[in-house]
């Protein structure tokens, strides 16, 4: 197992009085794909959203415990949240391109970092689109609106947009749930590719997807991390009976 890039200790999260995460401790190895599975409401999305502080925007949200990114507590007072989200990027369930051109979508993150040189931007846009396996499909219409792309292409555009700012970790929250099987297969191949350069954490309802793309899998239930092990082990011989019941479809 590669060294951990993200580690949580005694993580508890609350929405008002309701506890959404209970004492979650996990180590996420760098340059690997970690999948989080579990029934709706189990806390897996809450968890992944803690990792780049997306939950900060929810007024009733409260958290205790620690989340360490390369040893630094991301919830400490000194954390620059904007910079944190650059280093830990996120791709959401529904593709959410900006109503701008394909080019401007990818260049957006760089522009807000103050990068304006045309050559630098062109290079970064092209490289990001290539890494997101979208370049060949859009290279002749890079000035067209991002909204003219298909759903699957829009999702890969969002991945390119996340890649452009050179993150260390990429979080995927159900990235294929709005896509057809062919677009899903492309995103999955891409996720497997991405682990060469990035650490990937993916939340998915699709257990086959977790099995296909990840090297480690965590199973959440009612806010607890019930089991976290290699994906091989989880899908052939999990050690916890609750995991076994879930992955074999006996409940949930």
């Amino acid at each position: 197992m590669n060294p951990a890039v993200i580690r949580t200790e005694g993580l508890n999260a609350f929405y008002g009085p309701k506890q959404a995460l209970k004492n979650v401790a996990i180590s996420i190895p760098e340059k690997s794909v970690t999948a989080l599975i579990g029934p709706s409401g189990c806390g897996k999305s809450t968890f992944i959203r803690c990792l780049n502080r997306m939950n900060d925007l929810i007024p009733v949200f409260r958290l205790d415990g620690r989340i360490l990114h390369k040893g630094t507590d991301i919830y400490s007072k000194d954390t620059d949240v904007i910079d944190l989200r650059r280093r830990i990027g996120m791709v959401f369930q529904k593709p959410n391109p900006f109503p701008k051109s394909i080019y401007e979508n990818v260049a957006y993150g760089l522009r807000i970092q103050g990068i304006t040189g045309r050559g630098v931007l062109d290079g970064a846009v092209q490289e990001s689109l290539r890494k997101a396996a979208l370049w060949d499909e859009v290279k002749d219409r890079i000035g067209d609106s991002a909204l003219s792309l298909s759903g699957g292409q829009q999702q890969r555009l969002c991945i390119a947009r996340a890649i452009a700012v050179e993150p260390e970790v990429m979080l995927f929250d159900e990235p294929c749930s709005a896509l057809d099987p062919i677009a899903t297969a492309k995103i999955e191949e891409l996720i497997v590719e991405l682990k060469r350069d990035y650490t990937v954490v993916i939340v998915t309802h699709n257990m086959q997807q977790a099995a296909r793309v990840s090297s480690r899998t965590g199973f959440f239930l009612l806010g607890e991390l019930i089991e976290y092990d290699t994906t091989d082990r989880i899908f052939t011989n999990p050690s916890n009976a609750l995991t076994e019941d879930y992955i074999t479809g006996r409940f949930g």
């Binding site: 011989n237 999990p238 076994e244 074999t248 479809g249």
Partner: protein, 217 residues
């Protein structure tokens, strides 16, 4: 999942049925020898087709369930085990057929001596088969380990029978053809016990998720 559970239960029943056909084949092949009943031996040979049909049917159903249900964890291990143990059961059926063939040949000649150790060996091998089927049905790893232990007893008897028959051959070279055939019988039974051991190893895999094959100390 109710449908899948029913499908798995039906598959289990098919394996049990196949196992009982194999046990009956071994039983009757030995009976045809001891009672010098070549008609029964020919029946054993004829019935092997049924066992072969079970083997094919179970494998096809296993492939279908893997494709359509994407089994995981204990369901996956059950299906893999089911498909592997039918191969062993089918081979055991073939060996019972071999016993029946030798029985027909031996029944044509005067008996060399009363059969004592061969039926004893068959009794142990059949006990292993029945108990391993039971362990499979009940998902009982301890019972499977117990079956594996009994294989040594069968191996010991094989050596003992060989030594005894060697003595017969040296004493009277005219007995050689019959003695060699009886040696074959003990070898067939030893192989039947080996297949029961293979099945037991798969049952341990199914229950505990660990492969203990080829790890005998």
């Amino acid at each position: 999942m109710v449908i899948f559970d029913e499908e798995l239960a039906a598959l289990k029943e098919k394996i049990l049925k196949m196992g009982l056909l194999v046990d009956a084949a071994v039983r009757d092949s030995i009976k045809s020898l001891v009672e010098r009943d070549s008609g029964l031996a020919r029946e054993v040979i004829r019935r092997d087709r049924e066992i072969n049909a079970c083997d094919v049917g179970i494998d096809e159903e296993g492939v279908r369930l893997i494709a359509l249900r994407q089994p995981k964890a204990h369901d996956l291990r059950f299906l893999i085990t089911a498909m592997k143990i039918t191969t062993d059961l089918e081979r055991m059926g073939d060996l019972a057929e071999d016993i029946a063939e030798r029985a027909i040949e031996l029944n044509e000649e005067p008996p060399l001596k009363p059969y004592i150790d061969i039926p004893r060996m068959a009794g142990i091998a059949r006990g292993m088969l029945v108990d391993v089927l039971d362990a499979f049905i009940r998902k009982d790893a301890a019972a499977a380990y117990d079956v594996i232990k009994r294989d040594d007893e069968v191996d010991g008897l094989t050596v003992q029978i060989f030594n005894e028959l060697l003595f017969f051959m040296i004493q009277d070279p005219r007995a050689t053809s019959r003695a060699v055939k009886i040696t074959y019988l003990s070898k067939y039974l030893e192989r039947i016990a080996d297949h029961a051991t293979n099945i037991a190893e798969m049952v341990v895999y199914m229950v505990e998720g660990k492969m203990i094959k080829h790890m005998k100390p």
